[in-house]
């Protein structure tokens, strides 16, 4: 550049209003741009929070379970008809379900009709008698006595107590209510029009006549004098209904001593009808319902019943599968990485291997499943659904990750270490195995743990090799049929029962806990042992 350009052309315009406006606009653009970046991170964070909180909110209820703690007479004629007191016999032939059923029926002597009895039985889980069976088989001296045991409720009853299903509104009566009887069909008269609000909610005709209630309307019950009345016809100050739970007396109930209970969901749309709900409420009032930590979720295998289903089988399956994966891919991955990083000659073959590893890392995981199906199952004839095959497939899947991480760790060790070893007369391999590899180990371990975490969450390839079977037993060896935690989550998420939705979310929480634990360990390892040279 020379100084020959004219003075006018070189003058820079930064004083005028237009120039100021331009600068302002540019600064606005700057702020907008910054904001977009921040918003992108904000959206991502928000999404993460929404996903995690949605899963925690769905899954938390599954970690507790409502049980009915009641006294059960251990009747010798049902449990041990032969009177042999042999624990194995008692376990195999004792009819503990009948014991529990009888104990429950004894609490509601008014339930006589067969269909009602069946409904009453339905609040118990099919595994209701398990705790009792354990108690009695471990201590046969209890036979003939009365024991207090926790009895598992069915999933529907459990969900009812957790408040999942229907909204319950209780309004205390303002006037004095007088029932016309203690059982059968009765009429309740209130002195201050307590039923008017409820009536307004269900009112369909304008007439002042009492309104008849049907299955498609919200259910109304009246809790009075220790009993429950299901309302069938309602007027402003009087209601007619059937007694579901006998009243202790027909005496007038003072204001505040009785309640109108409204279930927003119509009876016809609920899993539990009003009668069952009445029994559940009554049991709760008697203090027999307890909320307990759901150990069963961790100690039992899969089941068709939500309240009995657990993740133990899946956890053991995951552990076995990961064990196979680790045993295979750690040595192979590290050995491959050492070869490529330290011994491989720079030639075409090495280049092909390297390109291959990079490509393999990006192959969709389901394709590895196809490999497992075609090669391991159909060609080699290995057993279906086995952790052995799952581990093999996952080992191939995470091998590129481990090789890449191990190479990075080996590369991070300064060459001076190796050169010093070579200088004092070590062979190339001695230098690598005695000096470089130990220094690279923390990095390799970090990469391995991250690879294992990846393998733990992997689902798709395992579906291909048949790890989706319904398996109740806990697998004992790597050739047993098994399932793994992510697959269990997938299977449960497909089931229609509401009870399983919470179980699925709870299983996800367990899976995420393991993943955070593994990744956390990897981070700590990296912080503690990684050396900067």
């Amino acid at each position: 550049m020379t100084d020959t350009t004219s003075q006018a052309a070189r003058s820079i315009d930064f004083e005028s209003d237009a120039a100021r406006a331009r600068i302002k606009a540019r600064y606005r653009a700057e702020r907008r741009f910054r904001f977009y970046g921040l918003a992108a991170i904000g959206i991502t964070t928000l999404f993460l929070i929404v996903v995690l909180s949605d899963i925690v909110a769905k899954g938390l209820p599954a970690f507790t379970q409502y049980v009915l703690v009641m006294k059960v007479d251990v009747d010798a004629s049902l449990v041990d008809p032969k009177d042999a007191r042999n624990p194995a016999d008692i376990r195999a032939t004792g009819d503990f379900d009948a014991l529990v059923r009888n104990a429950l029926r004894a609490q509601f002597p008014e339930v006589n009709a067969r269909s009602e009895r069946r409904q009453l039985d339905s609040i118990l889980s099919t595994g209701a008698a398990d705790a009792l069976r354990e108690r009695v088989t471990s201590d046969p001296a209890l036979i003939g006595q009365t024991v207090t045991v926790p009895v598992l409720l069915s999933s529907d009853a459990d969900l009812y107590f957790k408040g999942i299903g229907t909204q319950v509104v209780r309004t205390a009566g303002r006037g004095t209510a007088t029932p016309s009887g203690t059982s059968g069909e009765i009429e309740i008269a209130s002195t201050s029009g307590d039923f008017a609000i409820a009536l307004a909610r269900v009112r369909q005709s304008d007439a002042a006549e009492p309104e008849a209630l049907n299955e498609q309307m919200p259910s109304l019950l009246v809790a009075i004098n220790g009993g429950m009345v299901k309302i069938t016809e309602i007027g402003a100050d009087r209601a007619k209904g059937n007694v579901y739970l006998p009243l202790t007396s027909a005496a007038p109930a003072a204001p505040g001593q009785w309640q109108v209970v409204t279930y927003a969901t119509p009876e016809g749309n609920r899993r539990l009808n009003d009668r069952v709900v009445t029994w559940l409420e009554s049991l709760k009032e008697r203090g027999e319902i307890e909320r307990r930590f759901n150990w069963r979720f961790f100690t039992s295998g899969d089941s068709r019943e939500p309240e009995l289903a657990g993740i133990r089988g899946a956890l053991v399956g995951s552990a076995l599968t990961l064990l196979v994966t680790l045993v295979l891919c750690l040595p192979i991955g590290v050995a491959g990485a050492i070869y490529l990083e330290e011994f491989a000659p720079k030639n075409r073959v090495t280049e092909i291997i390297e390109i291959n590893i990079n490509n393999l890392a990006a192959v969709p995981s389901i394709v590895f499943g196809l490999l497992g199906l075609a090669v391991f199952l159909n060609f080699f004839g290995l057993p279906r659904s086995a952790p052995l095959v799952g581990g093999l497939v996952l080992a191939l899947l995470v091998l590129p990750t481990i090789i890449i991480a191990s190479r990075a760790a080996l590369k991070a060790v300064p060459p001076s270490i190796k050169e010093a070893a070579l200088g004092v007369g070590a062979s190339h391999q001695q230098a690598i195995f005695h000096h470089v590899l130990p220094l690279a180990m923390p990095g390799i371990m970090t990469g391995t743990i991250i690879g294992m975490a990846h393998a733990l969450g992997e689902t798709a390839p395992l579906l291909m090799i048949g790890m989706v079977a319904f398996i109740v037993e806990t697998p004992l060896s790597i050739t047993d049929a098994a399932t793994v935690l992510p697959v269990q989550i997938f299977l449960w998420s497909d089931l229609p029962e509401i009870g399983f939705q919470a179980r699925t979310a709870a299983a996800i929480m367990v899976l995420l806990a393991f993943l955070f634990l593994m990744n956390g360990t990897a981070i700590i390892l990296r912080r503690r042992f990684e050396r900067r040279w």
Partner: protein
Amino acid sequence: MTSLYFLGLAALVVAGYMLGRSRAVAAGQTNVLHSRPGYHGAFVVISVLVPMLLIFAVALPIADRIVNMQAIEALDPALAGDDLKRGAALRDIVAVATGRYAGTPSRALQNAANVYASLRAWTDTIIVGAGWIFGLLGAAYGLRSLSAQFRARNRVETVVKYVLLAAACVAVLTTIGIVFSVLFETIRFFQKVSPVDFLTGLHWSPQTAIRADQVGSSGAFGIVPLVTGTLLITLIAMLIAGPIGLFAAIYMAEYATPRFRAFAKPVLEILAGIPTVVLGFFAALSLAPWVRAAGESVGLNVASESALAAGIVMGMMIIPFVSSLSDDVINAVPQSLRDGSYAMGATQSETIRKVVLPAALPGIVSAFMLAISRAVGETMIVVMAAGLAANLTFNPLDAVTTFTVQIKTILVGDQEFDSAKTLSAFALGFVLFFFTLMLNVIAMQIVKRYREQYD
């Protein structure tokens, strides 16, 4: 049998190492020896391991085949040709022979089981005997070779080097395995269905009838609806992950303070670490109903398995992928370029838009291509949140299906291995593998070609 074999192997290995070591120590003082005593021991160990492992790997499958064939022959010679029945019969025979059969076996079955058991005992004895003998011979050879001048270290290191090479080649073998396993089945599939129909057909309904005379017995294998479905979901995912991932990367690389990075990086890492089955659960049980409700509130008819819900969650899944790859690329742009731009009076955002991004463009394009390949190959989110029906539509509110969903649907559960339906899954897998491979290769080429431009 296996445990007996490896017990012998372990005993020989330990004894061989000890003997080799002490023989070396006895042969001369350490300053006379060529190799350290441990290498002499290791040499003996290798001379034991090589023959024993070889015999095991070769003899066991052969013995298995002979025993199984003889057992089937004893049960019913007609079974030999029928793959499915043979497998079932074999399981029965093994169950009877090991005493785990439920019920009483038939006479023929018991007979076959007896043949199986006696033959198996024979082959087991032979394999174990041969293995031990050759192991001993190997140990003897190894021990005889040892002397003070013996170059044990070089021998051992050569073997170790080949072991390392073999480990590196496992990845190559895996690729070969993948290619062959999908390729062979795909070729078999194309013998039943013409490739032209497969690639251009507009209908996908792989149900093949049980009887030949049933209506619609042929099934339809046209992948166009699957391609559009996959592309639709991938497009939605990229519309979300592209801008968000890129902007997140720009912010992290150019603007973020170290403290902000310390917060934002773990967020992205956690999101990247969430298994796709978890995201699929969220997409299917939470987001899809929300999308449906939102659509209905503005009067739109949304399918319960809409492409939109699956696409959104898939987009969220690949945000960390896009942002971490782009972050690296942006960081690799030399600072001198930025400084030059600032010196010209450009603001930070102008520098990023006009200098940094163009310089990083090849890397960003390759990051996007890798992200697309990941979205196309993703399985669990679409399996759980997208539909099964192969609709030929571009409406994001409709249900569509993808390659991975169809592969999973066809192959989960029992299949006969010869039907066009089962084979079609491998053909889909082949297309999927080929497509993602192409994307990766192109992405790598782009990076390779433009990498050194600014150094």
